[in-house]
């Protein structure tokens, strides 16, 4: 236990800024999860592994001498096809089935990806060095790597771009129609199968962007996927489906929570505290909902 946070206000500022920049990234991943959850009613446990895979694409570009920031463009394009491939192979067989079946199937995909990445890229913790330098604020009391600011900026750009795309484009309208009522959309001539594939591909592409940013900003490791899945799930249930400002806000809140947990409890309990927070939120939600149910009675 370390209570430096409360004695030195600058650490608080540092933690808040770090947390917000981190949380924007989380919100991007959560947006992808909300998309496929809303449209296909699937919870993808492999979400985090898609993120890590996207990160490795950027990392390999870095290894071959290309600046990893280009991964932000390349990674989503590759990940889109990976996502469509996963959809065609597995997900389209579980879309209209029991929810638990889809959770278990994506859990299987997650284990598969973890291990394949472990074979292909090795079990080392890696990061792609962007060489962006750091920004010092308040007489060097707050240190912000420029890569974090860059990643937050790129995430916001992609999120806004996707929102506009969903509103304006034909595919975006088809996706929204399918989310509202798949059967009615089908009757009106929307090829829902294609929409599902595109949704899953878009989700994977978002994961690819987030992964590329994470490989620049933080570190990636084949087994680090599951925490990202849990974080995005948590953000979505706190915000609610289809509530984009909520997703952004709860993403940032989670980021700040994590930074403080890191300072106060110590780094070894960071992931544990995220998972415990998930349990607490779900339990809180259950008691809130049960009160509502009693009231309705």
């Amino acid at each position: 236990m370390d209570f430096m946070v409360f004695q030195y206000p600058m650490i608080t500022v540092q933690a808040c800024l770090d947390g917000i920049l981190l949380g924007i990234l989380f919100a991007l991943i959560a947006y992808g999860m909300a998309l496929q959850w809303g449209v296909m009613n699937i919870i993808n446990i492999a979400q985090g592994d898609l993120v890590i895979l996207g990160g490795y694409i950027a990392y390999f570009m870095y290894l071959y001498g290309i600046h990893p920031a280009w991964g932000v463009i390349v990674s989503p394009i590759i990940m889109y096809f990976v996502g469509v491939g996963i959809y065609k192979l597995v997900i389209n067989k579980v879309v209209d089935r029991d929810l638990f079946i889809s959770i278990l199937a994506t859990f299987g995909i997650s284990i598969l990806f973890m291990q394949l990445m472990n074979f292909a890229f090795g079990a080392d913790v890696v990061l792609a060095n962007s060489g962006y330098g750091t920004t010092f604020l308040f007489d060097s009391a707050v240190v912000l790597p420029n890569s974090k600011i860059f990643s937050a900026f790129v995430s916001i750009v992609f999120a806004i771009g996707l929102v506009i795309y969903m509103k304006k484009s034909k595919l975006g309208r088809a996706i929204r129609a399918t989310a509202q009522n798949a059967r009615a959309a089908k009757i009106l001539g929307v090829d829902t199968e294609k929409v599902y594939a595109a949704t899953f591909g878009l989700n994977a592409a978002l994961c690819g962007v987030a992964g590329a940013l994470i490989s620049i900003t933080f570190t990636i490791h084949p087994y680090m996927g599951l925490p990202y899945t849990i974080r995005s799930f948590m953000i979505v249930i706190v915000a609610g489906l289809g509530n984009l400002p909520g997703v952004a806000m709860s993403g940032m809140g989670l980021g700040v929570f994590e930074e403080f947990a890191d300072y106060i409890l110590g780094t070894e309990f960071r992931i544990g505290s995220v998972f415990l927070l998930l349990v607490l939120i779900l339990v809180y939600r259950r008691f809130k909902l049960s009160r509502k149910r009693e009231y309705l009675k």
């Binding site: 278990l104 199937a105 299987g108 598969l112 074979f119 599951l226 070894e268 309990f269 992931i271």
Partner: protein, 349 residues
């Protein structure tokens, strides 16, 4: 009825004779017993109650740590034991070992039961995928947190007391085999007894439609918690035995191993057929044979194989072996089939 008695007697005799007939496979058979216990208890939630949990691994790991901690802590300072990291600074005498093991197993069974009762009230109110993800989170959180606690070895692991030097070379394997076989028999008797009462019907009612069950005047929450506590009891017991059998406890790789054991128990129950008494037993046996094959012939690729196996079983075989048999030979399961009706259905298809 007499056919059943004969069957049970045959299985019991086989179980008792197995370590002497196949002395080379004692450890594998003990692990099989533990796997069957886990699959059977998972089936109480996932199969009968419809609450698909990834969190039974929590009780398994808790039982493992508790059993080993009690076994060490009864006679030696626990912190120094984990500090020495498996070097033989302290040695259990045979009496101490067996006393410690007995006390440890009792604690390992009781404490998870209490924990299940306490968290059950909060968690079992969740439905569907919220419950599944919540339990997944619980299991991983337990692993991460126990990996940060110094007194039980933190990241470097916890060596359980080595088996004392009594009764010859084969004694260790035989002791753990009979321990796990005993746990298996106990679990089977308990679960069979539970399934022959009204309790099973209540659990099935909860699975089929919880709101209606509540409306019929069943206190669903009470029964859900009891069901979870029964699972937790046997999961903790199995964990305690497994800890002694493996001889080494690591927070995320052995105890709270959501990636392996936590998925295995789900997979075994689904493979055998959810919601049947024999399904998980058959599923665990088949799965264990497959798994050992994979682990031997595809060393290094086993998780890849596991991932593919999960996807294939879940997509193409969700009813499991028992479900398939039931479809094929409905008469054996006591279902009356109207021949004309069946023909009509076939024609409709």
């Amino acid at each position: 009825m007499s056919k059943n008695v004969l069957l049970y007697a045959a299985i019991l005799i086989f179980g008792l004779a197995a370590p002497f007939v196949f002395p080379a496979f004692k450890v594998q058979l003990s692990i099989l017993c533990v796997l069957i216990v886990l699959a059977t208890t998972w089936n109480i939630q996932g199969g009968e109650m419809g609450y698909n949990t990834f969190g039974n691994i929590l009780f398994y790991g808790l039982g493992m740590y508790l059993c080993a901690s009690v076994q060490v802590g009864m006679f030696f300072p626990l912190a120094e034991w984990t500090e020495s990291g498996g070097e033989k600074t302290f040695v259990h005498t045979p009496t101490q070992f067996f006393q410690g093991m007995a006390a440890g197993l009792i604690v390992a069974a009781i404490v998870p039961t209490i924990v299940a009762g306490l968290i059950g009230y909060a968690i079992l109110g969740l439905r569907g995928h919220y419950f599944a993800i919540c339990t997944l989170g619980l299991g991983v959180a337990a692993g991460e947190i126990s990996g940060g606690i110094e007194i039980i070895g933190a990241g470097q692991g916890f060596t359980t007391p080595p088996f004392p030097n009594v009764g010859g070379l084969e004694a260790r394997g035989e002791f753990f085999y009979f321990l796990s076989f005993g746990a298996l028999v106990l679990t089977f008797i308990a679960v069979r007894a539970i399934y022959s009462t009204r309790f099973r019907l209540i659990l099935n009612a909860i699975r089929d439609n919880e709101d209606k069950a509540e409306a019929m005047g069943i206190e669903t929450m009470k029964y859900k918690i009891i069901g979870w506590m029964v699972s937790a009891f046997f999961c903790g017991l199995a964990g305690g035995i497994m800890g002694g059998l493996v001889g080494y406890i690591d927070s995320t790789d052995v105890a709270f191993d959501g990636r392996e054991m936590g998925v295995f128990m789900v997979l075994m129950a689904i493979l055998g057929g959810k919601g049947t008494l024999w399904g998980p037993i058959i599923g665990a046996t088949v799965f264990h044979i497959f798994k050992e094959g994979f682990w031997t012939f595809f060393l290094g690729w086993q998780y890849v194989a596991l991932g593919v196996l999960i996807v294939v079983i879940v997509i193409y075989f969700p009813e499991g072996i028992m479900g398939w048999l039931r479809e094929k030979y409905p008469e054996r399961f006591g279902e009356v089939v109207d021949e004309a009706d069946r023909k009509a259905q076939v024609e409709l298809k």
